[in-house]
Symmetry: C2
Subunit: 334 residues, 2 copies
DNA sequence: CTGAAAGCGCTTACAG
DNA sequence: CTGAAAGCGCTTACAG
């Protein structure tokens, strides 16, 4: 399979008539007053001719750190992460390579997974919506930034959404349409972002004179069908309690409610208003289109990556603009 | 940041009172008649006590190959890949680490991207829906499996869907509903899977007595809004040609048509039937729900990963069951 | 069954 | 400005 003997820095050095130390310096842009222009060009030429590529494993070994940035997210199949990943990799650029930790849907990586990552000697870790329990396992001093992890006990750099105003707007929106009793369909992952969403919705509802039903039955993983099932189970009790609107922890949960509502012959929004969080692209074409709180994924990814890079470089963190969630009102609430 | 001196194989060896060669053998399960049971246990214990993790970069360097498997896909934000990735990582298990190549939406990685991957000394490459042009760049002899890349000139191991029957069924389904002129909304990525879908739809339509309009305007990247725009542009001509149904290259394109149809006051399915390919989870809750050809992502990912592992191990490829696409008829065509 | 040693391909003081 | 050499942490013949 290996067609030609591997091209190494030694091959390049020989071709250029220089030492491998010089080749290394040039390839790492550390020529500042250490390599002459002529030799830089010579190395460059040899690299191009030979199609040389640095062996990143060897480089990592020599440096003690790889250029791998690991993204740990509980549910990469959630399209929300498409945007987040785009933002992250845009900021990481050429310098780092993004590695995705893929676990089962909604499941936090285990200590064993973390061990494997440690073996990669990562340049840094990005962890989306972790639980406090998970962070207990991340003992390490590796550069680490959390995404969407509000109010965590752990003192870790975190990039969060500012959701307070949008949630207040949502409550006002529902109250203005005459709702007095609403339900909350929660996510079961037990991460703080969902705790915060729920608590804020309950608080905002109260301020606008609405009460909130949030029974244990009304929870599911982030999966449309699981949410549909949970809602179907919870509905009789919710209906008896006088619920006329359901606020869901994610758009995916809300899609499940839309699906379940069809099965139960509940008209949305006439019988039941439905809302989500995320504003996935599909929310504009669901039936009916979904009122939701938009959480812009790409800026979140970008902000997290920037902070991580500052940690890696030991540069002071920038002041980044807040990531503001916004209410997008559509047909499912009017 | 580095709290304690790093635990290496040497640390473990010392603790166990053995050589690092023995430690390596045990950690790689190569003890077969080479290490005594007692010493295996001794190493095991030392590893546990010290929380030792193999340095994968160093290991890769010594072996000449890393345990990284790179997935190259033109558009990871497409939720279709969530399922594919799940399948892949399920098969890769603990032995390999999945690395995602993230490029801009719909763009094939460049030669420069490939160079970077080469520097990772990957154990193997998985490439989704590549173009022939892209494959020209993949000079290498690295283990390589293609996903969803039918009828490629390059002689490379490939895992494809069997779509012929489903497409024929789709054509029959549309013909039976009285359609005589249909349109095809293509993807612009220029990969063979989309060429095949289009060609087969045209052929199957002809067999069922329908003609197909596929103007250049009716193409877009895999993005809902881009598809909506393309369809809106193409619609006047399509309408004048008598088109009453549009078959889209992906569900995402179809969502765009649904969106555009609202803007144009076209009723679906009364004025226009709409279909897609993929059967994303959202297709059940769009308005109306979407008729589509289901392409099961997880089995595709699993099959590709299995074939790749056989290549890596130089084991004869298994006979895998065919990956059959199926028609899912919903409200958008009735 | 066990270990000393070479070697994988880099980076980085260090000496010149 | 340049290069010889040590060292990063493994794996793998090889000798015993």
């Amino acid at each position: 399979m290996q067609r030609t003997p591997r091209v190494t820095a030694a091959t390049v050095a020989e071709r250029a008539g220089l030492s491998i130390a010089t080749v290394s310096l040039v390839l790492n842009n550390k020529t500042q007053g250490r390599v002459s222009e002529a030799n830089i060009a010579r190395v460059q030429a040899a690299v191009d001719e030979l199609g040389y590529v640095i062996d990143r494993g060897a480089s990592a070994l020599a440096r003690g750190r790889s250029d791998l940035v690991i993204l740990v997210a509980p549910d990469l199949s959630n399209p929300f992460f498409g945007a987040v990943i785009r933002g992250i990799s845009a900021e990481l650029g050429d310098r780092f390579q993004l590695v995705l930790s893929v676990t089962e849907s909604g499941v936090q990586p285990t200590a064993a997974d973390l061990r494997r990552f440690a073996g990669l000697r990562p340049a840094g870790l990005l962890v989306d919506a972790p639980s406090d329990a998970f962070l207990d396992e991340v003992v390490d001093g590796d550069p680490l930034v959390l995404l969407d992890a509000p109010e965590l006990a752990h003192p870790v750099a975190t990039v969060n959404y500012d959701m307070a105003d949008a949630i207040d707007e949502l409550a006002a929106h529902l109250a203005s349409r005459g709702h007095t009793t609403i339900a909350y369909l929660d996510s079961v992952t037990g991460t703080t972002t969902f705790d915060l969403r729920r608590d804020r919705v309950i608080a905002a509802a109260a301020e606008h004179g609405m009460s909130v039903e949030a029974p244990d039955a009304a929870r599911s993983v982030i999966d449309m069908h699981a949410a549909a099932y949970a809602f179907t189970q919870a509905w009789p009790a919710l209906r008896d309690a006088g619920v006329t609107a359901v606020v869901c922890a994610t758009d995916t949960h809300a899609y499940g409610v839309l699906e379940a509502a069809r099965g139960l012959a509940i008209r949305v929004p006439q019988d039941l208003a439905v809302t989500g969080f995320d504003d996935l692209p599909y929310s504009a074409v669901t039936s009916p289109s979904l009122t939701t709180i938009r959480l812009p994924g790409e800026p979140l990814g970008r902000a997290a990556a920037r902070r991580l890079i500052h940690q890696i470089d030991d540069t002071p963190a920038e002041d980044l603009p807040p990531l503001v969630a916004t209410l997008v009102a559509r047909d499912s609430t009017r």
